[in-house]
Symmetry: C2
Subunit: 353 residues, 2 copies
C-alpha cells in the first residue's frame, strides 16, 4: 500500500470516499457502487431509453447518457457514478462496424488482419467527443463527495468482441488469431492500448475522478497468454495514463483471473483490483494485502435478495474489513433485478456492523 | 500420493497406463486421451450419426455408441476410450424432459421444486440399460492396454442444465433457486448424488476401468457454494462408489475451479484432478504434489495447430514431468478441429523430449 505524503492530507479529506480508498485509506462502512448500476433494471432508465433510436446513439447523446448515469445516484445515493457508455464505443471510434441489436447484444463485422489496417487511432477522440461531453455534464451535476468513474474495455476484451463479432463462449476467433499470427494480433493489441489510453485520458480531462478497465474475458486465457495479453497491455495503459495524469487512480477488473489475480495485482500497475464473484474471500484478502479491492457479491444474490443476500454482504464486509475496500458486485447487475433489492443492498452495506 | 502395496505390483504392470497413473505411478511419455475425442470433428462420426434420428436415440443404441467410442481409438491410438454418451442422460433417466435440437444443444423443461417431485431415482438404471450395454461392448472390443473411462456430469452441473433448461452464461435459475430455497435445492442435489452413484456404478459393473465426473459449471460459484454444491456432493459420490467398488479410480474435472482447485483436490475424494486450460501450470503443479493431474491444453490451440500448439504441449509436458500426469485438453475438442491436428498432438505428446 502506498502511503500518501502528509501534506496531501487536507485535500484528501475533501475528496470522495471512493477515491480515498483507492489512495489506500480504510473507510468503514466502505463506499459502494455497483457495476451496471445504470441500466435496464431501472424503470426510469427504460423510460429514458424508449425515447431514443439506437443504443449507440443513446450513448452519444450527452443529455441522455448523463441522465442515465445520474439516475441510480438519485435513487440509491451510491458513492460513485459510473459513466453510462459501452466498452465497444472504442471499437466504433476506431472505425469498426458495431451494431447493437435489441435483445441480441452487440454485433460487429469480425476483424481480420486485413480490416485491421482500416482502423484509425486518430478517429477515437473526435468520434467519441459526445462521451467526453457526457462526462463533463455528469461531473458538473454530481455532488463533490461522489466520485465519477470513467471506464474502458481492456484491449484483450475488446479484441475478443472485435475478432469474434459477438459475445461467445469460446472466443475461438481471437484465440486462433493470437496463436496462428501473433505478429498481426500484437498490432491489434498495440492499437487497442493506444485507443484505450486516448479514451480514458479524454475522460479524465473531462472530469472523471478515476477510471476502471473492464477485462471481462481475461478468464479464458491460459497463464502465458494472460501475462501477454491481459497484464502487459494493462501495464502499458496504466503507465501511459499516470504519465499524463499524475495521481490518477485506476481500477482493474480482470474477470475470471482466478489464480492469476496475484500476478495481475503485482504487475499491471492498477491501484485497485475488482474481484469477481468466484474469487474466494481468502484469495481476495491476499490481494488486499497489496492493493485496495473492490467487489465481490454475486449479482444473482442481488437478484434473489432476502436473507441469503444480507448474509453474504456481511461475510464480504467482514472479510475485507480493516483494509481498503470498495463494496461492489462481482459482475454487472442483471436486468431482471428488482430495484428494491439494490436499495436493500446499499442499506445493508451501510448499516451492518 | 498413496503408495501402492508391493503385492499389487504384478497386477499393476499389466494394467492400462492411464490407470497406473491414477494409482500414483509416473509414466513417461504420459498416457493421452482428449475430452470429446469422439464426436463431430471426425468425418467417420458424422457419417455414423447421419444414419440415426435423434441424439439421445444415438446414445441409447449400443452398436452406434460403441462404434463412436472406438472410432478415435482406431484413428489415433489414444490410451483411453471415453464412453460416447452425454451428461444429460441422467436427467433423462430420472424422467426429466430432455431434447437435443440440431445446432442448438440440449433443451430441457426447466425444473421447479414442484416438478422435482416427479423425478425417480429408481428409473435411472433401467432407462439407461443401453448405456451400460455400450460400456460392455466397448470393453470387449478394446485392447487391454487401453482404459475405458466411464463418466457422468457432477450434480451441480446437472442441476444447472435442469433448472435453467439450457446452457446459459449466468445460470441465474439454479443460483436463484439455491439461494432462495436451499432446502428444496438440497433435495435436488441429493437426488443427483444418488443418480450419479447409480449411473457410474452401473458403468463400472459393465466394465468401465475408471470414471470421470464432469463439473463443467463449477466455475460460476462463489467459494462457500463451491464447497457446498461442488466439493461436498463429489465427496459423497466418491465415498459411495469406493465402498461399492474397491480400488476404483475417479477423475474429477471441476472446470473453472480457479483458486478453489486446492480445496477440491484435498476434500472431494477424487484420485485425479482434471485441470482446465486457464489453470496456471504453477497452480497445477501444486495440485500434482497431492494427486495425479490431467490436462490442460487449450482446445483452441488444437484447432489452430502448428508451432504454437507444439510449443505449448512441450511446456505442459515439462511442467508436469516427473510426477503422475495424463495428457489431455483443458476442455473438449471443438467440432471445427482438423483431425490431423489431433494426430499431430498425439505424436508430439509421445515424441517430445
Amino acid at each position: 500500500m502506498r502511503p500518501l505524503p502528509v501534506d496531501n492530507m487536507a485535500s484528501r479529506i475533501s475528496q470522495p470516499a471512493l477515491l480515498r480508498v483507492l489512495q489506500g485509506e480504510t473507510i468503514d462502512p466502505p463506499p459502494v457502487w455497483l457495476m451496471r448500476q445504470a441500466g435496464r433494471y431501472l424503470p426510469e432508465y427504460r423510460a429514458l431509453r424508449a425515447k431514443s433510436d439506437g443504443f449507440l446513439e443513446f450513448c452519444y447523446t450527452p443529455a441522455a447518457a448523463a441522465e442515465a448515469t445520474l439516475q441510480p445516484i438519485r435513487r440509491f445515493g451510491f458513492d460513485g457514478a459510473i459513466l453510462f457508455s459501452d466498452i465497444l464505443v472504442v471499437a466504433d471510434g476506431l472505425g469498426a462496424k458495431v451494431e447493437f441489436r435489441e435483445g441480441e447484444g452487440p454485433v460487429l463485422e469480425p476483424l481480420t488482419p486485413q480490416s485491421l489496417k482500416l482502423l484509425k487511432l486518430g478517429r477515437v477522440r473526435p468520434h467519441l467527443a459526445p462521451v467526453y461531453e457526457t462526462v463533463k455534464r455528469v461531473r458538473d451535476a454530481l455532488e463533490p463527495q461522489r466520485a465519477l468513474i470513467g471506464f474502458a474495455g481492456a484491449p484483450w476484451t475488446l479484441a475478443c468482441y472485435m475478432c469474434e463479432g459477438a459475445a461467445s463462449r469460446d472466443f475461438a476467433a481471437p484465440k486462433a488469431w493470437m496463436w496462428s499470427d501473433p505478429s498481426s494480433f500484437g498490432a491489434l493489441i498495440n492499437l487497442l492500448v493506444g485507443a484505450t489510453v486516448e479514451h480514458l485520458s479524454a475522460q479524465v480531462e473531462a472530469g472523471a475522478d478515476c477510471v476502471q478497465l473492464f477485462d471481462s474475458w481475461a478468464g479464458i486465457l491460459p497463464d502465458a497468454e494472460f501475462r501477454k495479453y491481459v497484464i502487459a497491455p494493462t501495464a502499458r495503459i496504466t503507465k501511459a495514463l499516470k504519465q499524463r495524469h499524475a495521481g490518477l487512480r485506476i481500477i482493474g477488473f480482470p474477470r475470471g483471473a482466478g489464480p492469476m489475480i496475484d500476478a495481475y495485482a503485482r504487475e499491471s500497475g492498477v491501484d485497485g483490483v475488482g474481484l469477481d464473484y468466484t474469487m474466494p474471500l481468502e484469495t481476495g484478502r491476499a490481494v488486499q494485502q497489496r492493493l485496495p479491492v473492490q467487489g465481490n457479491l454475486d449479482p444473482i444474490l442481488l437478484l434473489a435478495g432476502g436473507e441469503a443476500m444480507t448474509a453474504r454482504i456481511g461475510e464480504i464486509r467482514k472479510a475485507f474489513s480493516g483494509m481498503p475496500h470498495i463494496f461492489n458486485l462481482g459482475h454487472g447487475i442483471l436486468p431482471a433485478t428488482p430495484p428494491e433489492h439494490v436499495a436493500a443492498l446499499v442499506a445493508a452495506v451501510r448499516t451492518l456492523p
